[in-house]
Amino acid sequence: MSIQKNLYFLSISILWIGGCTATGQIVKSNREEYHINSSLPVDSNIIKTYLPYKTALDAEMSKVIGYTEVDLTKNSDVPETVLGNFFADAVAHQAKKIVPNIDVVFPTTKGGIRNDIAKGSVTVSNIFELMPFENQLVLLELNGSDMYTVISYIAATNGQPVNGLKMKVVNKSPENVRINGQPFDKNRTYRILTSDYIANGGDEAKGFSKPISRKNIGLLVRDALMKEVMEIQANGNKINSKLDGRITVN
């Protein structure tokens, strides 16, 4: 339980002039960090307290709603991940059943992806932990210039989970931008689906503050993910997302 760390001494003397009526003075400080793992005993009173909550929750959350053939792992250091692609494609697929005409889907930032899903069965709980927030999907129509600001934000942050958008990032700037296969055109408007969190400027997202129009489509981000996992399962398939180079760096 006690972890040996690098031991170092620090003896410091500093002038501290002035009256002080505190009763004590620090002469020494020792530090330790405990790892909370299975080697520790448990406090049964704590378990007794959370058990009724857990029982009710488990009944709801432990339900298996699908399977994934690949590990879905978050990684904010790379422009594209299998998990990010799954997330963006799932939201795009479900949202387009409500509003077919969407150009780009940017449903979460990399930081908004909160947990991994390991290869195997996918439970309701997995989806809650992946996307715990109660964020709504919103559809915004942007002019070309604002759309380019969004694209530039995605490039400046070295890529984000997207669907419908393909580009190269060179020195944190977008190049060879294609939207649904077509070169980006600054003279037209675009319809982008994102979360209310991002549309309100969350994670310092740029370009959403002056939309031509904005509306909630009536679907939570998490519910879109949940529906997609269940639909894949109902069709007798498994999640098998892949990298496809939609965003590359350099």
Binding site: Q4, I14, T21, T23, R31, I46, L57, V124, Y197, G201
Partner: protein, 315 residues
């Protein structure tokens, strides 16, 4: 760390008269310990527990099997049984991250922290996830104060529900604790923080720490910070805070989910030590910092912070 030591060596040489005093103090510290006059204070801390009631599930992911409130509570009880003066603190983001929060809104998190006898916590950005009203609604489950020095909740549901600071008295020592929160704009949905006003954390920290040190005469000043450990740009962080303030002995940090190998000791505006520590997230770790105090002898000029730091506990 090397820089810290070398600068101190220079000061040490310049102030030879004081150097003698420092050595004498160290000797008298040993003497005080032998005579049982030395007071010991144990600080235990967590941050960004994010509704992790149970350990991470055994599903092959990186943190499987780690954390869990039942184990943390048992560990804390063991420490309390050995130590007389314990303070248990949390640096925010208590809420959000498991379905326990989605289903129960934070009730269970605060109940369990109360059972573990947390002494205080500050608010993280995710503690706003059900709005200011959502936090207020659960607050009666907490039997410890929520400390926020740089959020003005005047026109919100949390008006008069949080405190700027709290003073704890342990074994004759006075410990002042205050909280600092992160800039909400751009991070939290405006609908969720509403009329909450974010105030400059450095300015507030200096103001409150000065009150705690000079007016309340606290022996130790602790800041619970949800600003984040460090950033590549010049965003205010715990490192910036430590360098830009005086009178803070310890910053218990959060937000960036930083697993620090050892606490970091920074020289503050007075040249004294401000220690920063953060223990990852999800209750995977529990941090502990012990301070040993020697009674003051009422000298007008005293040598501040000539203290010895050790990254392991006393045998």
């Amino acid at each position: 760390m090397e820089e810290l030591q070398s600068i101190d060596r220079r000061r040490f040489i310049r102030a030879t008269g004081i150097a003698g005093a420092a050595i004498a103090l160290n000797l008298s510290a040993l003497d005080a310990f032998a005579n049982g006059r030395m007071q010991k204070l144990t600080i235990l801390h967590t941050n960004d527990v994010h509704s992790r009631i149970e350990p991470f599930p055994m599903d092959g992911t990186k943190n499987q099997g780690l954390g869990g409130t039942a184990r943390r509570a048992a560990l804390i009880s063991t420490i309390r049984s050995k130590e007389e003066n314990v303070l248990l603190l949390d640096a925010g983001d208590i809420f959000q991250g498991t379905p326990y929060f989605n289903k129960y809104g934070g009730e269970l998190e605060l109940k369990l922290m109360s059972l573990m006898k947390y002494d205080a916590a500050t608010m993280g950005n995710h503690d706003f996830d059900n709005g200011v009203e959502g936090f207020k609604k659960q607050l009666h489950h907490a039997n410890f104060p929520i400390l926020c020095a740089n959020y003005d909740f005047t026109n919100t549901a949390l008006a008069n529900s949080t405190k700027t600071y709290q003073i704890f008295k342990k074994g004759g020592l006075k410990i002042g604790v205050f909280g600092l929160g992160i800039q909400l704009k751009g991070l939290v949905d405006p609908n969720n923080y509403g009329e909450t006003q974010y105030l400059d954390p450095i300015q507030k920290a200096n103001e409150v720490a000065a009150i705690l040190r000079n007016e309340e005469h606290c022996d130790l000043v602790i800041c619970l910070s949800h600003l984040g450990y460090s950033y590549k740009n010049n965003t205010v962080s715990d490192q910036v805070l430590a360098k830009s303030t005086r009178n803070i002995d310890l910053i218990i940090g959060g937000h960036t989910h930083t697993f620090m190998d050892v606490p970091e000791d920074v020289r503050n505006l007075d040249g004294a030590i401000t220690t920063i520590n953060q223990v990852g997230y999800a209750g995977i770790n529990l941090g502990r910092i012990d301070y040993y105090f020697e009674p003051n002898k009422g000298k007008r000029i005293k040598v501040g912070s000539p203290y010895e730091i050790n990254n392991r506990l006393e045998a």
